[in-house]
C-alpha cells in the first residue's frame, strides 16, 4: 500500500513542479508605484495547500532540482546552478520550506466547507508562502549580499503587498477546487 501511495503521488508532485514552471513563464505584473510581482510564489502556496507538507516539499525540491540541472524554469527564463549563488537565492531555497509550512498548517486548519477551506488556505499561504519565504530571503540577503538585517528587511517589505494578493489568489483557487472536486483532501489529509 505504501509503495502504491508513493507511486500515486508521483504525478501530483510532478504536476505542481510543472505549475511552478508555467507560472514563471507569465511576465511580471507591475503594481502601482512600480512594485513588481511574479507569480511563482503562488505555485509554492498552491503546492502546500493542495498536496500537504510532505508532497508539497517534494514538488518544490523537484522543481529546484530541475532548475539546478539547467532548465530555464525561473521567471525571466533563468536556470542553472548560477542562480543559487545570486543574492535572491535565499528566497529560492525558502520555497520548499514555505511549501512545507503551508501544507502543515493547511492540514491543521479547518476544511469542512469550501469557504472555511479557502480561509484556511489564505492563512496557511500567508504564514508559509509569505512569511517563511521572506524570512529565508532576508537570511540569504544578509549571508550572501552582506546586508544588515534592517537593510534586508526594508528591501523585502516591497514585495509583501504583491505576495498578499497571491495569498488571496491561492484562497480563490482553493475555493474553486473545493467546490469542483469535493473529494480532494487539502493539506494532504488522510481520512
Amino acid at each position: 500500500m505504501n509503495v502504491n501511495s508513493s507511486l500515486r503521488a508521483t504525478p501530483l508532485i510532478a504536476l505542481f513542479a510543472a505549475l511552478l514552471a508555467v507560472l514563471g513563464l507569465i511576465p511580471k505584473i507591475d503594481l502601482p508605484l512600480g512594485v513588481p510581482i511574479t507569480l511563482q510564489t503562488l505555485g509554492v502556496m498552491l503546492a502546500g495547500c493542495m498536496l500537504g507538507p510532505k508532497r508539497g516539499l517534494q514538488a518544490l525540491l523537484l522543481f529546484l532540482f530541475a532548475v539546478a540541472l539547467g532548465l530555464p524554469l525561473l521567471s525571466g527564463g533563468r536556470g542553472g546552478l548560477g542562480v543559487f549563488f545570486a543574492p535572491s537565492s535565499g528566497y529560492l531555497l525558502g520555497w520548499p520550506l514555505g511549501a512545507l509550512v503551508t501544507g502543515w498548517l493547511m492540514a491543521l486548519l479547518p476544511s469542512r466547507s469550501p469557504r472555511s477551506t479557502s480561509v484556511s488556505a489564505f492563512i496557511a499561504s500567508a504564514v508559509g508562502g509569505l512569511w517563511v519565504v521572506h524570512v529565508c530571503g532576508v537570511v540569504g540577503l544578509v549571508v550572501l549580499a552582506k546586508l544588515t538585517w534592517e537593510q534586508a528587511l526594508l528591501g523585502t517589505l516591497t514585495f509583501v503587498p504583491g505576495d498578499l494578493i497571491k495569498c488571496g489568489l491561492c484562497a480563490m483557487v482553493v475555493h474553486t477546487v473545493a467546490r469542483g472536486m469535493p473529494d480532494w483532501r487539502f493539506g494532504g489529509r488522510t481520512i
Binding site: 504525478p11 513542479a17 508555467v22 549563488f85
Partner: protein, 197 residues
C-alpha cells in the same frame, strides 16, 4: 521545453559532468571562506575568462549574465551608500565568480548527464528507502505536464474568448488547476496499473 545547454562545442563540453560539478562545489565553498580581495579578484577574473573562452556558447545565457551583473551592481551600490564599499566589493566578487562557474557548467553540460551524476551521488540514499530512480520519472512527467498546461490553457482561453470576447487571464487558473488535477489522477491510475504491485 529546452534547456540552457549550448550545442556550440567548446573545450568545457569535453570535461565530465561529475568533475565539473565537483570543482564548482569545492571552489564555490572555498570562496565563501575568504574575505581577501587579493584572492577574490583574481578568482573572479579567472572565472570570467573561463566563461568568455566559451565564446558563442554563452549567447544563450545572455539574460542570466545581465541579471547577475545588475544584482552585483545593486549590491555594490547599496554597500557604497551604507559607507561599506569594501564589503560590497567582496560580496560582489564572490557572487560573480560562483555564479559564472555555475553558468559555465549549465551551458556545457546536458541535463541528462547532470541527472546521471546526481543519481550516482544520491544512490547511497537507497539504503534509507529513498527511491532515487523516481526522480527521473518525476522530471519526465514534469516536462510533459508543462507542455500539457500550455495546450490546456490555450483551449480554455479560446473558449473564454468565444464566450466573452476577452482573454481569460488569471480567471483560468482555477479551472485549469481542476483539469490538471484530474489529468494527474488519470496518470496516477495508469502508473499504478503498470508499475504498482
Amino acid at each position: 521545453m529546452g534547456s540552457l545547454y549550448s550545442e556550440h562545442r567548446t573545450w568545457l563540453h569535453g570535461v565530465p559532468a561529475g568533475l565539473k560539478l565537483l570543482v564548482l562545489a569545492l571552489i564555490g565553498t572555498a570562496l565563501f571562506f575568504t574575505d581577501r580581495v587579493a584572492v577574490l579578484l583574481p578568482s573572479t577574473l579567472l572565472c570570467g575568462l573561463m566563461l568568455a573562452s566559451l565564446g558563442r556558447a554563452t549567447l544563450g545565457a545572455a539574460k542570466l549574465w545581465v541579471s547577475l551583473v545588475i544584482a552585483c551592481l545593486l549590491v555594490l551600490g547599496f554597500h557604497a551608500l551604507m559607507h561599506q564599499p569594501m564589503l560590497g566589493i567582496v560580496s560582489a566578487l564572490r557572487l560573480l565568480s560562483t555564479a559564472w562557474m555555475g553558468v559555465a557548467l549549465t551551458l556545457t553540460t546536458r541535463y541528462t548527464d547532470l541527472l546521471d551524476v546526481f543519481e550516482r551521488w544520491l544512490s547511497p540514499l537507497a539504503h534509507l528507502g529513498i527511491r532515487v530512480d523516481r526522480v527521473a520519472l518525476q522530471l519526465a512527467l514534469m516536462l510533459r505536464f508543462i507542455d500539457h498546461f500550455f495546450g490546456l490553457w490555450q483551449r480554455l482561453d479560446d473558449a473564454h474568448r468565444v464566450r466573452t470576447g476577452r482573454p481569460g487571464g488569471l480567471r483560468l487558473l482555477a479551472p485549469l488547476t481542476i483539469q490538471m488535477l484530474r489529468s494527474a489522477r488519470r496518470v496516477a491510475d495508469t502508473l499504478e496499473l503498470r508499475l504498482g504491485q
